[in-house]
């Protein structure tokens, strides 16, 4: 109880409350603008957090995370262009509603459903994360090795139709993180006698390059410029309580789908939104109207994608294993701020864990208020000319890349990663596995080497422990399932997932 009160005390300070509001507003802005999204948003604010205390810094980043998932729905509704891939399903019914003059009501449905979905997922996080952390105390290095491989394969495998590319991207990420000092022997690896390289390839500059710089290069290659002259004037109209009658089932089902999908590695909010939308199309009372401007479509997509935010933090906080690039960046920024997620976080810093829970609740409440008050202002953000916007984003992101260590090599890393990210994206290589690979590399390598020491070099002994065996079997099943589907002739159906949407 004391730690609970301490957790609450952590967030009831002016800097933290201000960070929650500012983070949520910035998150919504980043979400509204097509192409930016959660990862770029978090890397953009990272330099601002370097000198901030730990809790306000976390509050700012969690605000960006949740706000950006919601913000994508506004542009999806108003201009039929989802601000983030997570909001793609929202456009299916949101834009038709806007076309018939109900844009304000559509934003109202999206705001309410997003808030409920977000709060639901915080509940899941509160219930599941401590249990998972407690369970993971049974894990040895062998289980952690199996878990790391499982998470990476899941993420690489999400890129259906490009499985080899996804796997290659993941393995490249694993390899990049081995550059620099070997943690076990202290020897230099792949530095080619370059002193700057001894510090290794840092995660944040790589992410800045892979996401922010490559986004600019991709836009340059597509000559994609948003027109300035379009006038967007949209308010918000919240649905009445009676309007919810008959829709609560869809809401609950979507929250459950989002929470479940979010906790799985390699899936993400876009996948959750589309699964939930498909379920609404199957089971909604108004299924015949879906796609023509039916609120059930908005409810299913928005509650599901926001329900991912809390549950995606379950493996991240409890095991230190991120499920997608957003939580990978969050993990990296947590570490920058001296917070190492994993079971020990729950045993040694429970007050911080509670503080994160409270922050997420506050962020979701702030999201509702911010959405209700500022919807009209957010649509005006869409008027910012894209070339100016991208320039300012790149400058701030590069400060984030440089500021982590103050090492100029990080700027070069970001630039090289930007070129690499551009080439990979243009050729259908997903970037998510590479980021997750970089995050998991050290854990996978250390647990493999320590495991082999424990088993005296017998790798087959890794398969003799029930938890690791289960994880290896699941990994194998995930790897071969697409091949089996293809052999059975069912693998050619269109798939829509976050990997493709990236």
């Amino acid at each position: 109880m004391d730690t609970l009160a301490l957790g609450l005390e952590h967030i009831l300070t002016l800097p933290t409350l201000a960070a929650i509001v500012v983070g949520t507003v910035l998150g919504v802005v980043v979400g509204v603008l097509p192409g930016l999204g959660s990862v770029i948003g978090i890397t953009m604010v990272l330099p601002f957090t370097f000198t901030m205390p730990q809790i306000p810094a976390l509050a700012l980043m969690l605000g960006i995370y949740c706000g950006s998932v919601y913000g994508g729905s506004i542009s999806a509704i108003v201009i039929n262009t989802p601000g983030t891939p997570q909001a793609a399903a929202t456009a299916l019914d949101g834009f038709p509603m806007a076309q018939r003059g109900d844009a304000g009501l559509a934003i109202g449905w999206a705001t309410t459903a997003s808030t409920i979905g977000g709060l639901f997922s915080v509940g899941v996080l509160v219930l599941a994360a401590p249990q998972l952390a407690a369970f993971s105390l049974n894990f040895t290095v062998i289980e952690y090795f199996a878990l790391g491989v499982f998470a990476l394969i899941c993420i690489a495998n999400v890129s259906r139709g490009a499985m080899a590319k996804g796997l290659l991207s993941g393995v490249i990420g694993l390899f990049l993180a081995t550059v620099g000092v070997d943690q076990v022997t202290g020897d230099m690896r792949f530095t080619f006698d370059n002193f700057e390289m001894t510090a290794g390839i840092s995660l944040i500059p790589a992410i800045v390059g892979l996401f922010a710089l490559s986004e600019m290069f991709v836009r340059a290659s597509e000559s994609h410029v948003v027109k300035e002259s379009i006038a967007y004037k949209v308010g918000i109209r919240l649905p009445r309580l009676t309007d919810w009658r008959g829709r609560l089932g869809i809401l609950l089902k979507s929250c459950l789908i989002g929470s479940f999908v979010g906790a799985l590695p390699g899936t993400g909010a876009a996948t959750a939104a589309f699964i939930s939308y498909s379920e609404a199309k199957r089971s909604s009372r108004n299924r015949d109207k879906l796609g023509t401007g039916e609120p059930d479509g908005i409810i299913s997509a928005e509650s599901a994608n926001n329900a991912v935010t809390g549950s995606a933090m379950v493996p991240t906080l409890a095991l230190g294993i991120p499920g997608d690039p957003v939580t990978a960046v969050m993990l990296g920024t947590f570490i920058v701020h001296g917070l190492t997620p994993g079971p020990r976080l729950f045993s040694e810093h429970l007050d911080l864990v509670y503080a994160i829970f409270f922050i997420l609740v506050a962020v979701n409440v702030a999201m509702f208020i911010v959405g209700a008050i500022g919807a009209q202002a957010f649509t005006r953000v869409l008027r910012v000319p894209e070339p100016l916007l991208m320039t300012t984003v790149v400058v701030i992101s590069l400060i984030g890349a440089y500021g982590v260590r103050g090492n100029p090599i990080d700027l070069i890393t970001a630039f090289v990663a930007g070129i690499g990210g551009f080439l990979l994206r243009k050729n259908g290589f997903p970037l998510a596995p590479m980021v997750i690979g970089m995050v998991l590399s050290q854990m996978i390598e250390n647990s493999l080497r320590q495991g082999l020491l424990i088993t005296r070099g017998d790798f087959l002994a890794f398969f003799q422990r029930p938890i690791s065996l289960t994880l290896f079997v699941l990994t194998f099943a995930i790897l071969v399932w697409p091949l089996v589907r293809r052999l059975l002739g069912r693998g050619k159906g269109a798939t829509l997932d976050e990997g493709n949407l990236e």
Binding site: I172, D187, N427
Partner: protein, 153 residues
């Protein structure tokens, strides 16, 4: 000669780089410790490079079945110019300081990306770099690279 897809090119380059790095792992510099029982500094990277080699080969072969992506001369020039300007900017941050290079970058890049509102570009160029520099350097106390010609920035 048949045109190859970019995927084939990426697969081929990755294959060559992987082969070189794998060869590099046999450098005598890595024969550092007998105590590691064969699991020295390049034990794990060698496994990864093995996987990378196989996967690069698969991607290379897959790329043979992809149609080559057409890219216009204008697009290629635009991407090349954006890459060059950004590369120069990153070089300039350490060579000429953050503020000076950012002023130049913020002025050039929007124009390069097709934005022609001169007033807006000049305003943003005048305000944004100075604002960002001031906030980080003076408020957040993050030391940004300074110019070799001026004391204060």
């Amino acid at each position: 000669m048949a045109r190859v897809s970019w995927t084939t090119v990426v697969g081929g380059v990755t294959l060559l780089v992987t082969a070189f790095l794998f060869y590099h792992t046999f450098d005598p510099a890595y024969d550092v410790s007998i105590l590691t029982a064969g699991r020295g500094p390049v034990f794990f990277p060698r496994i990864l490079l093995g996987f990378m080699f196989v996967l690069s080969a698969v991607v290379l072969v897959e790329g043979r079945f992809e149609a080559p992506r057409a890219i216009t001369r204008h697009q290629a020039l635009l991407v090349g110019a954006t890459l060059a300007v950004t590369g120069l900017y990153i070089w300039g941050i350490t060579a000429a300081g953050f503020l000076i290079s950012t002023v130049a970058y913020v002025f050039v890049l929007p124009w390069l990306l097709g934005y022609r509102n001169a007033v807006a570009i000049v305003l943003v160029t005048a305000l944004y770099p100075v604002g960002v520099w001031y906030v980080f350097q003076k408020v957040f106390l993050i030391i940004l690279p300074s110019s070799p010609w001026f004391d204060s920035f």
